[in-house]
């Protein structure tokens, strides 16, 4: 397995946020994790990224133990719900930021940034400042900035949470395209049922710090805890003639 999380726990004061959680994920696949606010999804991602320290348990990426490694050494990029574009840099500057940190030659940065701008369908926007972009464009730049650094693992924390329905749908498609092109391995956290089903190759449900991973999507659909059944019943009730 490419990513393995074993018996991971984390408490803040007396609150147990992540409770002996284990998961595994193959390379170039996306695991979507469905969970309500406060179930520990963000803490789990931050533990994997190295932004929080686990109380116990271990994280392995490609056979390498991550505890003791700094976030920069892990090569795991964490994407927030907000796009967090650097307001003092242009679109080009934002996308190439990670490469600049890695001291890649400027000519190479320019080449890779141009290619990424094309793939993100942002042609002609390269010299704009973040505040001149729409919400969807900003989120695309944020994706490009993360993917261009070729991370081993991408952690997405409800990245489309602030977008409208249409933009959200387009971004979901774009992410799947980019994931296929760049062979991305990712954890995709969301509280949106439909998004969880659409985005993940594998799917899990997180509740009170524990994660249940389903062997296939059929299992997920049939489990009453996921809310899929009640969602279907709701839409069916709308179609009934006596409604």
């Amino acid at each position: 397995m490419f990513l393995e999380v074993k018996q991971l726990s984390k408490s803040f004061q007396k609150d147990l946020i992540v409770d002996r959680l284990s998961l595994s994920l193959d390379q170039h696949r996306t695991l979507s994790i469905l969970g309500r606010s406060g179930c520990g999804k963000t803490t789990l991602l931050k533990l994997i990224a190295g932004l929080e320290t686990a109380d116990q348990g271990s994280i392995w990426v490609n056979g390498e133990e991550m505890s003791g490694k700094t976030p920069a050494e892990r090569k795991i990029v964490y994407l927030y719900q907000e796009d967090l574009l650097f307001p003092h840099l242009t679109v080009r500057g934002n996308i190439g930021f990670g490469l600049k940190l890695q001291k890649v030659a400027p000519s190479q940065i320019a080449e890779q940034v141009d290619l990424m701008i094309e793939r993100l369908e942002l042609q002609g926007q390269g010299d704009k400042m973040p505040q001149q972009l729409s919400g969807g464009q900003r989120q695309r730049v944020s994706f490009g900035r993360a993917i261009i650094t070729n991370p081993r693992l991408l952690l997405l924390d409800e990245p489309f949470g602030s977008l409208d329905v249409g933009t959200r749908q387009r971004m979901q498609e774009l992410f799947k395209e980019l994931a296929a092109i760049y062979g991305i391995t990712s954890l995709f956290v969301t509280h949106d049922l439909k998004e969880a089903i659409l985005m993940g190759d594998d799917i899990g449900l997180m509740k009170k710090g524990s994660l249940q991973i389903y062997s296939d999507k059929q299992d997920f659909l049939l489990d009453p805890q996921t809310g899929v059944r009640s969602e279907i019943e709701f839409w069916e009730s709308l179609l009934k003639p006596n409604y």
Partner: protein, 256 residues
């Protein structure tokens, strides 16, 4: 805009500008005795005298400028760095209460409390002592000022840089400093003013040997030399006015 509003604005503007204009007028005046409405002399005599015979006025001006620039640079720089540690510290509230301490006491009382240590360390009556004394007031101001910068969003920016492969230093130089640029300039301006207009603490620690422009103004007023006092006031007032203009023109307008 109605005529009444225009008139009200005119008088408001006049009220603000009058003290500056009057100071300038007074600095060019001489032999102005009660009950004369206008001075007996109006010209450059006072300014010429001060620039030729009272050459320490120029020295006071440049001493004040040097001390204020140093205090503002040190206060803003170290305040910015320390404010981060305090903002993310578990005992943040206690540290901030300490930062308010010089203002609760008032700077001059703080100076009186610390005077013994300044005397013992040989810093009393030196410009280094005055810089240190004023720094003890400017630094906490800067720490309090930057608390607003170290918020949840700033922390997310910093963490993002780390996961993109950057070090803490790279995050500081390439992201945090550019993000804080506007606030740093405003803080520099404010701490410069704190130092520039500081009198009580400077007089106490400088013991008359460090004669900043503010000390000079009070000296002339005590001597009842209004004309020289007005010149010192002009020199005291105009640098902050220029800084205020630059701040408004290049910093504030970009922040809003």
């Amino acid at each position: 805009m109605s005529n009444i509003k225009r008139l009200a604005l005119f008088f408001l503007g006049l009220g603000i500008l009058f003290p500056f204009a009057y100071l300038a007028f007074l600095s060019f005046s001489g032999a102005w005795f009660f009950p004369e409405v206008l001075p007996g002399y109006f010209g450059l005599k006072n300014w010429k005298e001060i620039l030729s015979t009272e050459s320490d006025m120029g020295f006071s001006f440049f001493s004040s400028l040097g001390i204020s620039l140093l205090v503002a640079t040190l206060g803003t720089g170290t305040g910015f760095i320390w404010s981060k540690s305090i903002a993310y510290h578990a005992q943040k509230e206690s540290w901030l209460v300490l930062a308010y301490f010089p203002y609760m006491l008032s700077p001059v009382v703080l100076a009186a409390c610390l005077n013994f240590f300044f005397l013992k360390s040989g810093l009393s009556g030196t410009w280094q002592g005055v810089v240190l004394g004023q720094y003890l007031v400017a630094f906490p101001y800067s720490v309090i000022f930057f608390q607003a910068f170290w918020n949840h969003r700033t922390r997310q920016f910093e963490q993002l840089v780390l996961t993109l492969g950057g070090s803490s230093n790279q995050a500081f130089v390439q992201v945090l400093l550019p993000l804080a640029k506007g606030m740093i300039l405003v803080c520099f301006f404010q701490t410069f003013l704190i130092s520039w207009f500081e009198y009580g603490l400077t007089a106490l620690i400088g013991v008359g040997k460090v004669q900043t422009l503010t000390v000079k103004v009070f000296l002339y007023i005590k001597e009842a030399n209004f004309y020289y006092g007005a010149i010192a006031c002009c020199l005291l007032v105009w640098p902050p006015v220029i800084l205020l203009y630059l701040n408004k023109r290049f910093v504030y307008n970009r922040l809003v």
